[in-house]
Symmetry: C2
């Protein structure tokens, strides 16, 4: 478990507002989720390269992939986003990977 | 600074692969960035409500806003994404906020 004290300290370095215990808990929860998702995506990236070790570049590629998954998930559950949009979103995700 | 040992332990719980030191460092870096960005967006959310304390719901709304910013940033730097796409992407970001 990521230590709440550390997260709270970093938060307080970047805001003048009071930082409630519940906001720290929510952020810790989000960070834990990100570690899990990122690790799973990184594993797939390493697998594609037939490696058995996760490298820094596997983690870097995750940001683009996480965004792509989220976009696809949203576009699948709303009628407002159609096939054409999926194409456009793929262009965005590919662009993200390039930078 | 988020402890590398903790992050590595969580990663190892979710992959059978070896976890290199550089991949842990990269993920810690990403998590630190997410804490900073999330805190700044949460502060804006709390400010809109004229509150002086960050609450859990301010953190929850950040995920949608972070995605929106990233999409806008990408769409601004590529010619393939035009004004129409921005509209579509706003629909996506708004849908994300609703769930």
């Amino acid at each position: 478990m990521i230590p709440k004290g550390t997260v709270k300290r970093i938060m307080k370095q970047h805001t003048e507002m009071n930082v409630s215990a519940e906001s720290v808990e929510k952020l810790v929860e989000l960070l834990q989720e990100i570690i899990v998702t990122t690790t799973q995506i990184a594993e797939q990236n390493a697998g594609k390269d037939k490696r058995k070790t996760l490298k820094a570049r596997d983690i870097e590629q995750c940001d683009a992939e996480r965004l792509r998954r989220k976009i696809v998930e949203v576009s699948e559950r709303t009628e407002k986003v159609n096939i054409l949009t999926n194409e456009i979103l793929n262009v965005v995700a590919n662009e993200l990977e390039r930078y």
